[in-house]
């Protein structure tokens, strides 16, 4: 037991002396949490639209006013031929084309129906998709206005189903509320995993591990001496992150803070175990860095931060069950946004405990003092 204390004393001394690690732990989370949620935004604004108006009627003008007034679109071209509009798309000056056919108003009034043509530049999938949807909404609103114009005297409007959606847990569909807990999860993972892996490999590179290996220090002492400091640092990063998301984004965890910490404590053990395991396979910090990067990329992109795991193909969904980051992102969103309790996350806690035991077990097994 005394040995562990000495090891910890040494480890903390080295960490506090290493200014770049201190900066990494204290400044990086704050900056990333300030930058990323502001920049990474799903809301699409400023969709460039080019309109080909072949009708020049009051209805077509009404439609165009509706589109430009919606705030989502920027009218970059008002043209008279499809060809001219297409060249705008080719020059990347337009994302959407709306063609209003000749006789739009006349046909609408006379026949009660008319078609519009919309062409979408789908290179930027999200922008095209959402732009198309927005345009549909704006046109539908314009359509309703026209109907009201044409048929005020009819007794009772034609039957129509209208949907009203209430957004629970994030009523304003604020994108940041959704992203901040996820980004915090990634930060904790990165700092915990990378620092542990690099630290042990650094001892290998410097040869200090040789010197440790000829001492009576036991294997589990050494590993605990490495785990505990980075576990503490992980908690520091997490706490900083919670403070930032509260002060800057006003995100107050709905659920119990203690529960969140409880989950993070287990999660950190799993991630640190992973870092340890990687370090036992590597001889240089460069190797460790690239291997960690490889896994963290997969963990992050398949962990449901940007794209929901539910919409992934089945094999990816199965794979994401072996990804600790998936669990953390889920639980963070559940507890912070929804106020889930212990009962709701107990299963995930169990899985992570298993991860922690297996990963650390493998790391201890694979860390050989004698080759």
């Amino acid at each position: 037991m005394r040995t562990i204390l000495f090891l910890l004393e040494k480890e903390f001394r080295q960490i506090f002396r290493n200014r770049s690690i201190m900066l990494l732990v204290l400044v990086m989370p704050v900056i990333q949490l300030l930058l990323l949620p502001l920049a990474a935004n799903y809301e699409v604004r400023n969709v460039n639209i080019a309109i080909i108006d072949n009708d020049h009627s009051s209805y077509s003008r009404k439609l165009i006013t509706g589109i430009t007034a919606s705030g989502y679109f920027r009218l970059t071209g008002y043209l008279f031929s499809y060809k001219g509009a297409m060249s705008l798309i080719e020059k990347d000056q337009a994302d959407l084309l709306l063609e209003i056919p000749r006789g739009f108003e006349r046909n609408l009034v006379r026949e009660g129906r008319q078609q519009l043509f919309v062409a979408v530049n789908a290179i930027n999938g999200t922008k095209a998709n959402l732009g198309g949807v927005y345009l549909g909404t704006v046109i539908k609103a314009a359509n309703d206005d026209i109907r009201l114009d044409l048929a005020p005297q009819q007794a009772g409007a034609p039957p129509a189903i209208d949907t009203v959606t209430a957004n629970w847990y994030n009523p304003l569909l604020n994108y940041r509320v959704y992203m901040v807990p996820g980004i915090l999860a990634i930060l904790v993972t990165m700092i915990g995993g990378f620092l542990t892996a690099l630290n042990i490999v650094k001892e290998k590179e410097a040869g200090t591990i040789e010197q440790i290996n000829v001492t009576p220090i036991k294997k589990h002492h050494f590993i605990l001496g490495k785990l505990i400091p980075f576990w503490v640092l992980g908690n520091v990063v997490f706490t900083l992150g919670l403070i930032v998301s509260r002060l800057i984004y006003g995100i107050v965890p709905q659920g119990s803070i203690l529960l969140l910490y409880g989950f993070i404590w287990i999660y950190l053990l799993a991630v640190l175990g992973f870092g340890l395991l990687v370090s036992t396979f590597c001889d240089t910090q460069q190797q460790a860095m690239f291997i960690m990067f490889f896994f963290i990329m997969i963990f992050v992109l398949m962990g449901g931060l940007f794209t929901s795991t539910d919409s992934m193909p089945e094999w990816a969904q199965v794979a994401s069950r072996f990804n600790p980051v998936t669990y953390l992102i889920e639980v963070m969103r559940m507890v912070i946004l929804k106020g889930s309790g212990l009962k709701d996350i107990a299963g995930r806690m169990g899985v992570l405990t298993l991860f922690a035991i297996v990963l650390n077990g493998l790391a201890i097994f694979n860390y050989r003092k004698t080759s």
Binding site: K10, Q14, N18, A206, T208, Q211, T215, P216, T370
Partner: protein, 304 residues
């Protein structure tokens, strides 16, 4: 009981034999030198004896404890100083020393007498980070750290490689002092001149022990009188010596050529005239004391 004993110790790396059936016995309190060129297998032997490497064959015991079975016990009582500086460069001199004392469950104060003579030289720099010390100071600190738990056997792997001549001399003086404290020391070095400072040396080449004896006995066992030769054209001289039928062995040795003859009673003066006929001038051939290096070359030649 011997401090170190190996019997037919063997280590292979990917089918290449690094240590080949090495049998050594080192008595307690001995200053034992393992002398051989780079790649001879010295470090592999050290790593097996300090339980960092598992032997592929044979057995080894340190203080009567088996290096495979009793590795935990061995780690408590040996001191090891690897060839490469491997203390924490971001900890200070003092902190390194304290750390290694505590992991061996002791304190610096408890064994201060052992390191006192070395540590006084480090004391002015005790707040300095180990990574910022000069090469010689690093060696001294590493020696202190290897000694701080009062080991019974001290393993020093090439402690003087890359160290300036003055520090090398100081280092060997420190080893003599430690010997006086009854610590068994096994030291490896590629420098032949350091061999004579040991109680006993083993000459090692390509994983094989060529001979084990006291430096004096090794030197005495040299079979022939040895001569040092010099002439105006050293390159010509060496060539002439190699071609001569009378010469048993010849090789360059510093500014001289060392020569031994097939006929131990050869007339040096007449040999000189033979050389003079080949156009060499200023020829000088005189008897010279045998060094360990001569013995090493002799063993290599007789093996080949």
């Amino acid at each position: 009981m011997e401090a170190v004993r190996t019997t037919h110790l063997k280590k292979t790396y990917h089918g290449k034999t690094a240590v080949d059936e090495v049998s050594l016995t080192i008595e307690q309190g001995e200053l034992f030198g393992l002398i051989g060129p780079d790649g001879a297998g010295k470090t592999s032997i050290f790593r097996m004896l300090t339980t960092l490497l598992l032997p592929d064959g044979g057995a080894a015991a340190v203080d009567g404890l088996d290096v495979v079975k009793d590795y935990r016990q061995i780690r408590k009582r040996v001191g090891y100083m690897p060839g490469k500086f491997s203390l924490y460069p971001d900890l200070s001199v003092e902190e390194n020393l304290n750390f290694f004392a505590t992991v061996f469950n002791t304190t610096v104060a408890a064994n201060y007498t052992l390191i006192k003579d070395i540590y006084v030289q480090l004391e002015p720099f005790k707040k300095r980070r180990a990574g910022k010390l000069s090469g010689g100071m690093k060696q001294k600190l590493a020696l202190c750290c290897a000694l701080i738990h009062k080991p019974t056997v001290l393993f020093l792997d090439e402690p003087t490689t890359g160290v300036d001549p003055v520090s090398r001399k100081e280092f060997w003086e420190m080893l003599q002092q430690l010997k006086a404290q009854h610590i068994t020391i096994l030291v490896s070095t590629p420098y032949m001149d350091e061999a004579s400072l040991c109680d006993k040396v083993a000459l090692i080449q390509q994983g094989k022990i060529l001979s084990v004896d006291t430096p004096a006995a090794i030197v005495a066992s040299y079979p022939q009188p040895l001569y040092a030769a010099r002439a105006n054209e050293m390159h010509q001289l060496l060539k002439a010596l190699q071609q001569s039928a009378d010469v048993r062995s010849s090789y360059g040795f510093g500014e001289f050529a060392h020569v031994s003859f097939k006929d131990t009673d050869i007339d040096i003066a007449s040999f000189e005239t033979i050389l003079a006929k080949k156009g060499l001038t200023d020829i000088e051939i005189r008897p010279t004391p045998v060094t360990i290096e001569d013995c090493f070359i002799e063993r290599l030649n007789s093996q080949a």
